[in-house]
Amino acid sequence: MADTMANATPAARFLTRDRIIKWAPLLVLGVLILLFPFFEWLEDIRAGEAHAYLIDSRFFSIRNAARIGIAAAPALMVAVGVTFIIIMGSIDLSMEGTVSVCAVIFAFAFLAWSGTVLSWAWLAIPAAMLVGAAMGFINGLVHVKLKIPSFMASLAMGFVGTGLALLLTGGDRTRVEDPIFRSLLTERWLNFPVMVYVAFAFLLIAWFIQSRTTLGRNFYAVGGGEELAHASGLNVERVRLMGFTLAGVFFAVGALLAVGRIGIAETATGNNFMFVSITAVVVGGTALWGGIGGVWNTLVGVLIVSVINNGMVVIGLPAYVQDAVLGILVILAVVLSTDRRSVSFVK
């Protein structure tokens, strides 16, 4: 395979192939952001209304950006978590279970400890993150120690997680009404609610881990060549375990934001996160075979998916075609952001 890898020296030109590929996801996002206002414009022109492109766009507005931000924030956290795993060349499908468990335990603890952030109840936040870490750790243990491929191990652990959440709640939902906690959604700085900033802060933390810590770099080593990394003396098992644990923590943050968004913790809190987050990671340009990509790619990927979902409703696409449009746009985004030269085949 080595021969099919590019080994040309980087050209001095500005628009190199590598650059284009690297920025393709962002390009796709940009096109989408300009595309949806176009449909709005068309619609208004047809209706005979005056419409200055972009300026009169409802989609292309700060308020809508905030809405997309709210929709994207929890998914972003989950996707960032799974990004680390995918960089390692593994996959984690346990997020729905983990998110549910973390959300439920957070809500229980928060309410049990008096239900306002201005008391010991704030401890429920780190507690939920610890629970996420523990779930991720167990997931990693099952994968690494029992030598079960991560796809299968995490899929099964996802069942266990959802089941655990159900066992804890008995199917009931818990409301978290504390206004201070809910200010995640209700309080706005510069037009954006606090949860968007929280998500961004955690994204920066993830970036820091990815680029500045040994663990983060080791993810890339494992994804680039696990056997080689092992032969270089890297404790690959440990890196994997830590990776799944870290992913668990980010799933927990996603759970907290999800609870912050709707004020309800329930077994269903984790629903739908699996395909959204993995699709977002791939659309952002992180390769499923590992070693390439990172959390910024994931941010772009999550935004692409959220923009599509939001935009389709905004331009009034009939509900029944929305799934197909999402599917086709996802394929397009991945096609554009894959460096065909660097892969010899894809399965």
Binding site: I91, G163, E226, A324, V325, K347
Partner: protein
């Protein structure tokens, strides 16, 4: 007898151990009539898993099968009156084409099958919603019995579903074991680059594998639709994860090249036993999912032959 010699039989052993546990707790489980019915009922899921095996065997995955089946339930219901039994042909063609398109996107556009099939699944779902007008439709009972009544009869105590499953299994097995296509599949699954360097038309083989997966999903959808005598865009929900689990638990790893359709038989049976076990052992409603996950981990830990997972376990 060493562990080495036992290895190929581990999926079987797992199956019998699980069945033994359920049967020991509740001997009614071993009632032959019940067992036959239990197995016959799983036919649509089994057929879907059978198709999925081809996608996984070449190292890919097909996440579109459930939506494919959903689409087919709608097609079958809507066009039964018009085409009669010919609707089966339409369904199979649609499944084949959708699968082929997924395969094309995967091989020619370099989109991993995880994404391409997921996306094509969305397209199929849209098709199902559109065609059904977003309602649950039902088949005309007499028309259904005229065209497809044979699917659910009984001959000498053997349900026809089982016979259909057996025939499809034989076809799949024959394809995999006895034909050049099956050999090529194995080559692609075990060493794609070497297959290319041997002059195999790898792209075509992969596209065919996905097409077969789509086709089997369509057959599964058709049977399910006939069985339920109707169709809608959600009817086959719940099939996807079980079909994947059935393939993997049977011992066909996601890395491809190992295992095959016979393993999927065992895998599907393991899934049936676990699921029926929940009913027989009266597992509490709130605990069922958790128990399912844990038993699944145990089952897969037992069945997979780690020495055949070439290289690293990812």
């Amino acid at each position: 007898m060493t562990l080495e010699t036992l290895k190929p039989y581990l999926p079987w052993i797992t199956l019998f151990v699980l069945a033994g546990i359920v049967g020991a707790a509740n001997p009614a489980f071993f009632n032959p009539v019940g067992l036959v019915a239990l197995v016959a009922d799983i036919t649509p899921l089994f057929i879907m898993a059978l198709g999925m095996t081809f996608a996984i065997y070449i190292g890919g995955i097909d996440l579109s099968v459930q939506q494919m089946a959903n689409l087919v339930t709608v097609i079958a219901t809507v066009y039964l009156a018009q085409f009669g039994i010919g609707v089966a042909f339409v369904c199979v063609i649609v499944g084949f084409l959708f699968g082929a398109i997924s395969g094309f996107i995967t091989t020619r556009l370099y989109v991993p099958s995880f994404v391409s099939t997921l996306a094509m699944g969305f397209v199929a779902l849209s098709g199902a919603k559109f065609l059904s007008g977003e309602r649950a439709l039902s088949m005309d009972a007499t028309l259904r019995d005229q065209s497809f009544g044979w699917m659910f009869g009984n001959t000498a105590g053997v349900p026809h579903e089982l016979i259909i499953a057996g025939v499809l299994l034989f076809i799949a097995w024959f394809l995999q074991k006895r034909t050049t296509f099956g050999r090529a599949l194995k080559a692609v699954g075990s060493g794609e680059l070497a297959a290319v360097a041997s002059g195999l038309n790898v792209d075509r083989i992969k596209i065919l594998a996905f097409a077969i997966s789509g086709m089997f999903a369509a057959i599964a959808g058709l049977m399910f639709s006939v069985k339920l005598s109707g169709g809608d865009a959600n009817l086959a929900n719940g099939f996807l994860l079980l079909a994947i689990v059935a393939v993997l638990v049977g011992g066909t790893p996601l890395t491809g090249g190992v295992g095959g359709v016979v393993n999927t038989v065992i895998g599907t049976l393991i899934v049936v036993v676990i699921r029926a076990g929940m009913v027989y052992l009266e597992i509490d409603a709130t605990q069922q999912q958790m128990v399912f996950g844990i038993v699944l981990i145990a089952a897969i830990a037992l069945t997979i032959d780690r020495s055949k997972l070439r290289g690293v376990v990812k």
